[in-house]
């Protein structure tokens, strides 16, 4: 049982990374528009995040320090500042969206307007961050998010033509009526969503919070290679559901209620209740991750005490940062800005900033002064280098594609 609970950090991180509010809607929309023709982007993203999260977790376990802490020390204050500004902005945008996502999930269950739930959601996230132990937090929300497996049950009950779905995934093509630029935009959105920077900040900081050491290197691997692929499978399942239900009807997806509809049709009220609980848990988990990451990144850059493992009085600036970030996120959410649009843009903008996050990780994981014998081996370096080239290309084309395609519309 302890071994199962040991990988909840990876599961919680992956839930936030793969089935947060932006992913839920992005996967639903791509499934409805492209079928499984963009499944490859999720698979590539899963491999990429596994490569870099494994490095980040290993750095944290060996050095006892999270990635951001070492980035500034290894690459200097200026490079660290660029990294900090880009990462913090995207993480804060995502936090705003997740607070909205929690409120939207509560609206589905209550039919009370989501704007009324936003302050409640913000307060609940802050209370959990303030009062609940790190391990308990990740176990509760990581495991609660697993009820999203009901989506796989729904897909099976819908009885799709599996060979057709497999064909769509294995032979990606741009459907009739969609442009190549739009297809590329959504591929980047899915890839960016899979590799959102806050995942590695949270994962490596969480490893330090849990006191990982060299003895936990296998635990790191288990977290990465079970947690993240699980998140990827849930993403693909959601894509499959909307491909089966919405694509033949030419329905475009832009709301959380639509994402839940295939489960409702296939499984009924129990399935609907479970998928809404799962959406709630996944978005709440992502709000915890992004809320904490707002505090982690700035505190680690400035060298302030941080985290839930130290007493609040000793990490007062960290807790103040988290509180202010949550307060501002609630304020922005209450302006009635569309949380789904916010998160869609945050994942696309994060794609533009990916090299700033992942290059330093690759450099630090190769530094034998920090890592000793646990520095990267050839396979990690090969994969890391290949992905870095991909990330640079993605970063270069993201903004032009966003403009040309009017954000994939």
């Amino acid at each position: 049982m302890n071994k199962v609970l040991g990988i909840t950090l990876g599961i919680l991180t992956a839930m936030g990374g793969f089935v947060d509010i932006g992913d839920i809607v992005a996967n639903s929309e791509t499934g409805a528009r492209f079928g499984l023709g963009l499944a490859w982007a999720v698979v590539v993203g899963v491999i990429g995040i596994c490569v870099f999260a494994e490095m980040a977790g290993r750095v944290a376990a060996v050095s006892g320090r999270p990635v951001f802490d070492l980035v500034r020390e290894r690459l200097g204050a200026k490079v660290g500042l660029v990294n900090l500004l880009a990462s913090f902005f995207i993480t804060f945008l995502t936090l705003t969206a997740e607070i909205g996502g929690i409120a939207l999930a509560l609206e589905l269950a209550s039919d009370v307007n989501y704007l009324l739930w936003i302050p409640v959601a913000g307060l609940a996230v802050w209370l959990v961050i303030w009062r609940v132990k790190f391990e308990s937090m990740e176990q509760i929300f990581g495991l609660m998010g697993l009820v999203l497996v009901v989506m796989a049950v729904a897909l099976w009950r819908l009885g799709p033509d599996w060979s057709d779905l497999a064909h769509q995934a294995a032979h990606p093509a741009v459907p009739h009526g969609e442009g190549h630029a739009t297809y590329a935009f959504w591929a980047i959105a899915l890839f960016g969503a899979a590799m959102t920077p806050y995942e590695v900040f949270f994962f490596s900081s969480g490893a330090v919070e849990e006191g990982w050491s060299r003895r936990d290197l296998m635990l790191n691997k288990a977290n990465v290679f079970i947690g993240f692929p699980l998140g990827g499978v849930l993403s693909l399942t959601l894509m499959g559901l909307t491909a089966v239900v919405f694509q033949p009807a030419a329905v475009s997806v832009g709301s959380l209620s639509q994402s839940a509809l295939p489960v409702s049709l296939a499984v009924g009220k129990l399935g609907l209740a479970l998928v809404i609980i799962g959406f709630f848990a996944a978005t709440f988990g992502a709000a915890l991750e992004t809320g904490l990451s707002c505090g982690y990144t700035i505190s680690q850059y400035f060298g302030w005490p941080w985290g839930k493992r130290v007493r609040p009085r000793e990490a007062a600036r960290f807790h103040l940062l988290v509180l202010v970030a949550l307060g501002v996120a609630v304020g922005v959410g209450l302006t009635a800005v569309d949380p789904i649009k916010v998160t869609e843009y945050s994942i696309v903008l994060s794609a533009a900033a990916l090299p700033l996050t992942y290059l330093p990780i690759l450099l630090v994981a190769n530094d034998r002064d920090y890592m000793g014998e646990s520095a990267n081996r050839w396979l990690s370096n090969l994969l890391g280098s290949v992905f870095l080239v991909v990330l640079v290309v993605v970063a270069a084309v993201t903004i032009p594609l966003m403009i040309v395609t009017k954000a994939g519309s």
Partner: protein
């Protein structure tokens, strides 16, 4: 370095602004206007077909009342948002007025039907939804035909 920081901030701010606001591009030709009309019909059709699926789930007892109400509200919001965006476009010439009138009548019929469903769902009368949703199939067919003709 500060230039890089400023550039990043500018790009991020521009992207965020673009994402959080609905920008309606100008329409200069009748062909552009016709294409926008077709894509509006597609968007409204999407809302109508979503509502049909929601009503189907409610009719078979596969969805609870709060979800049905929110899902129908979302479907209506998507459809009426698309219709309002198209209505805000200036037709490029008198020849486009007829197209505008034709689509306006169709989208009004669709959004009225969706509003009726939403009101009924909010009152908890889920067993009446199926009967009230009957016109949706015909509206969907006409929207699809409009889109095909002008797309």
């Amino acid at each position: 370095m500060s230039r890089v920081v400023r550039w990043l901030a500018l790009v991020a701010a521009a992207g965020t602004l673009a994402g959080c606001t609905r920008i309606v591009g100008p329409v200069r030709t009748a062909e552009d206007y016709e294409l926008k009309a077709a894509s509006t019909a597609d968007a409204v059709l999407s809302g109508v077909r979503t509502a049909e699926l929601v009503v189907d789930a409610a009719d078979r007892g596969r969805a609870f009342a709060s979800y049905v109400a929110v899902a129908l509200d979302d479907a209506e919001g998507d459809a009426s948002g698309a219709a309002a965006t198209f209505a805000s476009l200036q037709p490029p010439g008198p020849s486009s007025d007829q197209l505008r009138d034709e689509l306006d009548a169709l989208t009004s019929e669709a959004t009225d039907a969706l509003a009726t469903l939403r009101i009924t769902a909010r009152r908890g009368d889920l067993d009446q939804l199926a009967a009230q949703a009957e016109p949706l199939a015909d509206i969907a067919d006409r929207l699809a035909a409009f889109s095909e003709q002008h797309g």
